[in-house]
């Protein structure tokens, strides 16, 4: 450990050395004086004889520098000093890189979480899920699953699971939970040990309803049982059936479907699964099956094995089975169903992020070139004083790497914050979706690597400039090289960049305007002043014959609350979920094959007061009454589009009939206005409303219209419904909440376009800035002469920035045109997105102008403030 004292002593050695050298020259001077020289001559002679003091000192110092580390440290300090002297440049460079690295870190982290990271179970590399050959679907019936599990010779074991919603009554507030129904061997086959208590095993299942057990997820145990270990052995009610809590699953295990975190696990042979679901071979309700391959078995062998079982099953049960062939897929994202589009999307994003980084590097490269040009005299001077080119380049690269590390650090910090927020975010409160994209070591590594590589990349741009610096020429004549007049590759890149930026700015403005407008569009129902209360009487154990009476009582109870104007009930809502659809036929059609159907409209079962509560206008005819029940003729209210398609016009539709699949004739008694049912961007669709008593449903939404404060009203509704049945889980939300799912796509598109637009703008700014700064630096002398000769400010600016402004204009116009074209595509995603909007066009022009102004401001100031006197004196 010799070097430790060396470091501390080195400073003293330097001082000693300087003193020693001073004394040496002094002694020599005296010697020469005594030989009869004049004082001035003696001093000069002594110095000449000694040689270059600075270099001697430097070389001596190098001896003591601890390895190269100290010299790197010296370089770093020097670079930091240099960077501090030009804060504008430093900030622009760091921010540019921070954005690019941040974007890459976020995209890579998401890709890492979606695609690269395996399921959180032991030995994930041998875990495969089954998928039907030629389909992107992996559902099986329970008997098929059992046959596949028991007959195959390729898998260690096969597990199966399905996800359902159920009502949990744990003695306090009844709540709706997400349950993973899993085969008994689930935990054992996946190799999972309980965090607490025990898990269920294959041996716990003895046929239908034999295993009323619950294994909680760690998160649910913590959130709802406060991490109480005494929870093991407790009995709770799930859809009114008693279940025993066996234990808690491992801490990091969130089920076997990525991002969809269930609350707990129950065996498939529990009371929640109907007995005939366990035996019906045609009912494919098991969501996914998966297992570890046996050691030495390849996926191809396993597929062959499964296919032979499949063909046996096909032969044995020709009535129930379709084609039974299989493929193996990675289980994380439900095989190819989600996996394929997600992979394609991520690849696209990664490419885009890579391009952003590349553009950032190009911009930083031109910034660095401008800087090197500014410093060409300094570089030449240093070369003339004996500095090696290697040393100067090392200094430049140190600056580049410092900037890249700072940019990488800032970018990574920002992206980590963003990713944390994304991980905590639950986009849809109704579903247990957690996008766990927290960055891991891999992400940090990639970010740092990208930062370093890009630092070396843009740091390399001015290398040729430095290598070709001829110190004598530069010192003699100043930088004499001139800007080329031809269009360089860098110019072209800049134009493309600006064009892309303008496209993004245009599209994001179009999207924002469209989104803002779509929130106030006519949906065919009202959104304001309406609360929804979702219930599933099945969760509270109601038998079908008791459901209608209970629903009527619920409507009456809520309608009696003060401030409530009207209450409707529906099994599903337009732009919500829950509604089914049905084929409809003309009344005179006798062959009721699907191909003869006129339409397949969504069907909503509603209570008499629904239209009033929902704010859907009844154009003609009548609404339903409670007399439209099982004993009276089947009736329907249809929308105008339905009437137009089936009967030619709305006016003639009242009193006419249509048929459904089972041949039943239904009479149209009313016409409702058209609306949006499935998506915001759809064309007018036919829709049908049926009386709830004629087509009943367990699972319904109360539609409550009231101008009372929603929070107070929600509390009142909750307590009114609890008085009716304390064990009934209720979800109360505003009318626009279910629409969040539909708005998710447009919102995400708008946000990502906005973010990309912002990045594009940042990059364009640094790009133009770099080019303008370079051009001004190169022509400083020329500008000085022009000013000295009496050029006006306008002429100076034109000379200095004309090229940059021209590029900006060309790029912007190209981008605006492309953006208008691209917005046509956008109209498929974002409702009411149109580029033919003066506000949008004006906004884009203004944005690009602003961008140009910001980018050229500093170079323009510099060009204008050129003092010809100082410049000419310097030369």
């Amino acid at each position: 450990m010799n070097w430790i004292p060396d470091i501390f002593r080195s400073r003293k050695f330097h001082d000693d050395l300087s003193e020693e050298m001073r004394l040496h020259i002094e002694e020599r001077t005296e010697q020469l004086l005594s030989e009869g020289m004049s004082l001035a001559e003696a001093k000069r002679q002594a110095r000449v004889g000694f040689g270059n003091c600075t270099l001697v000192e430097e070389r001596s110092r190098e001896v003591w520098q601890w390895n190269t580390l100290e010299s790197i440290w010296a370089d770093v300090r020097f670079a930091l000093r240099q960077l501090r002297r030009s804060p504008g440049f430093t900030i622009a460079a760091v921010l540019t890189l921070a954005l690019a690295i941040g974007a890459n870190a976020v995209v890579f982290s998401v890709m890492n979480a979606f695609i690269l990271r395996p399921l959180n179970v032991p030995q994930p590399q041998s875990l495969y899920a089954l998928q039907h050959g030629g389909e992107t679907d992996g559902t099986e019936s329970y008997p098929d699953y059992l046959d596949l599990r028991n007959r195959n010779r390729s898998f260690e074991d096969l597990v199966a699971y399905n996800v359902v919603q159920a009502g949990l009554d744990a003695g306090t507030d009844p709540s709706s939970v997400w349950v993973e129904e899993a085969s008994g061997n689930y935990f054992d086959a996946l190799g999972l040990q309980p965090y607490l208590g025990r898990v269920f095993h294959a041996a716990d299942e003895h046929g239908p309803s034999s295993a009323p057990f619950i294994v909680l997820t760690y998160a649910y145990w913590h959130a709802h049982f406060q991490g109480d270990p005494g929870v093991v052995g407790r009995v709770v009610r799930l859809n009114k059936h008693p279940f025993t809590i066996l234990g808690v699953a491992p801490q990091d295990f969130h089920g076997t479907l990525l991002f969809f975190n269930p609350d707990f696990f129950i065996p498939m042979e529990s009371p929640l699964v109907a007995a005939n679901d366990l035996t019906a071979r045609g009912n494919r309700w098991v969501f996914e099956t998966m297992g570890h391959l046996k050691p030495g078995v390849t996926p191809a062998q396993a597929v062959a094995d499964l296919n032979s079982i499949g063909s046996q099953l096909e032969k044995t049960y020709p009535k129930d089975e379709g084609k039974m062939t299989f493929a193996l897929v990675r289980p994380n994202l439900y095989g190819d169903f989600l996996g394929r589009p997600v992979r394609a999307f991520m690849a696209g994003l990664m490419l885009l992020a890579g391009l952003i980084l590349l553009a950032a590097c190009a911009n930083l490269g031109s910034l660095f070139a401008a800087r090197a040009a500014d410093r060409s005299r300094e570089v030449a001077l240093r070369l003339a004083l004996g500095a090696s080119r290697k040393r100067i380049l090392r200094g430049l690269f140190t600056e580049a790497v410092l900037i890249s590390l700072a940019g990488g650090g800032v970018g990574l910090t920002g992206s980590v914050a963003l990713l944390r927020a994304m991980s905590a975010w639950q986009p849809f409160p109704r579903w247990p979706i957690h996008i766990g994209v927290n960055p891991d070591a891999k992400v940090y590594g990639v970010a740092v690597l990208l930062a370093l590589v890009s630092g070396l990349l843009f740091g390399a741009v001015p290398v040729r400039q430095v290598l070709h610096t001829n110190p004598y020429e530069v010192v003699k004549a100043g930088s004499a090289s001139r800007m080329g007049r031809r269009m360089t590759a860098r110019d072209l890149l800049l134009v493309v960049q600006i064009a892309i930026c303008a496209v993004l700015v245009t599209s994001s403005m179009v999207a924002v305007r469209g989104l803002a407008r779509s929130l106030h569009a006519d949906f065919g129902f009202e959104v304001q002043n309406i609360l929804l209360a979702e219930t599933d009487l099945g969760m509270a154990g109601y038998s079908p014959d008791r459901v209608p009476a209970m629903q009527k009582r619920m409507i009456e109870a809520v309608a009696a609350l003060p401030g409530v104007e009207s209450v409707g009930l529906a099994d599903g809502l337009p732009l919500g979920d829950g509604a089914g659809d049905a084929l409809v036929f003309k009344d005179d059609t006798s062959d009721l094959r699907p191909s003869n159907a006129i339409a397949k409209p969504p069907v909503f079962s509603i209570s008499p007061d629904y239209f009033r509560a929902a704010g859907t206008a009844l154009l003609s005819g009548r609404a339903f009454t409670w007399q439209d029940d099982k004993n009276s003729p089947r009736v329907a209210v249809v929308n105008r589009e339905f009437a137009r398609r089936l009967f030619g016009s709305a006016a003639g539709a009242i009193g006419r009939y249509y048929k459904i699949r089972d041949g039943v004739r239904i009479q149209v008694v009313g016409i409702a206005e058209d609306g949006k049912y499935g998506s915001l961007t759809e064309d007018p669709q036919p829709a049908v409303f049926l009386p709830i008593l004629q087509s009943p449903s367990n699972s319904t939404q109360l539609v409550v219209r009231s101008s009372r404060d929603p929070q107070l009203l929600a509390a009142a509704m909750r307590s009114a419904l609890r008085q009716l049945d304390a064990g009934l889980p209720v979800l109360i939300e505003a009318r626009d909440k279910p629409m969040d799912v539909l708005m998710f796509g447009p919102r995400m598109a708008t946000v990502s376009l906005g973010v990309l637009g912002l990045m594009g703008a940042m990059l364009s700014i640094t790009g133009i800035f770099g080019m303008a700064a370079y051009s001004v630096s190169k022509r400083l002398r020329e500008l000085g002469i022009r000013i000295a000769l009496g050029a006006q400010r306008r002429e100076v600016l034109q000379a200095a920035l004309g090229r940059a402004v021209k590029l900006l204009a060309v790029g912007s116009v190209a981008g605006l045109l492309l953006g208008v074209l691209a917005s046509r595509v956008l109209a498929f995603v974002v409702y009411q997105a149109t580029p033919r909007d003066p506000l949008v066009l004006a906004g884009v022009v203004l944005a690009m102008l602003l961008l140009g102004l910001v980018a050229t401001w500093i170079p323009a100031q510099r060009a204008l403030s050129v003092d010809p006197l100082i410049l000419l004196r310097e030369e």
Binding site: E20, L23, E62, W64
Partner: protein, 116 residues
């Protein structure tokens, strides 16, 4: 410039001469330069400054040690003294230098060696 030494002498030659001078008697930098130039009959034009990086290398390798003091002429000087390991190194270097010199001499005058 400073590279003169390394260009005109082979690497380590200056260090060797310094060590040899110091073996005779401790000296400060100026005296060392004078000594080397005089001993070589001014054949070796050592640039005075280039002595110092060499001295620093020797110091770092602990082949010499330095001490501030006052010279006989009443000047403040930093006097260098050879250490035991310096002596050892010097002997090694001299012997390897002699071998090398012998080799070079043989190559440069093949006729003589044949005559011997």
């Amino acid at each position: 410039m400073t590279d003169t030494i390394s260009r005109d002498l082979f690497p380590g030659a200056l260090e060797m001469m310094i060590l040899e001078s110091l073996r005779r008697q401790p000296a400060h930098g100026y005296a060392l330069v004078q000594h080397i130039q005089q001993r070589s009959n001014n054949l070796l034009q050592v640039e005075e400054g280039s002595l110092y990086p060499a001295l620093q290398r020797l110091l770092k390798a602990k082949l010499v040690k330095a001490e501030w003091g006052v010279s006989s002429t009443n000047r403040k000087v930093r006097t260098y003294q050879i250490t035991a390991s310096g002596l050892h190194r010097l002997e090694q270097q001299i012997s390897s230098f002699e071998r090398m010199f012998e080799g070079i001499a043989l190559v440069l005058s093949p006729g003589k060696s044949a005559a011997n």
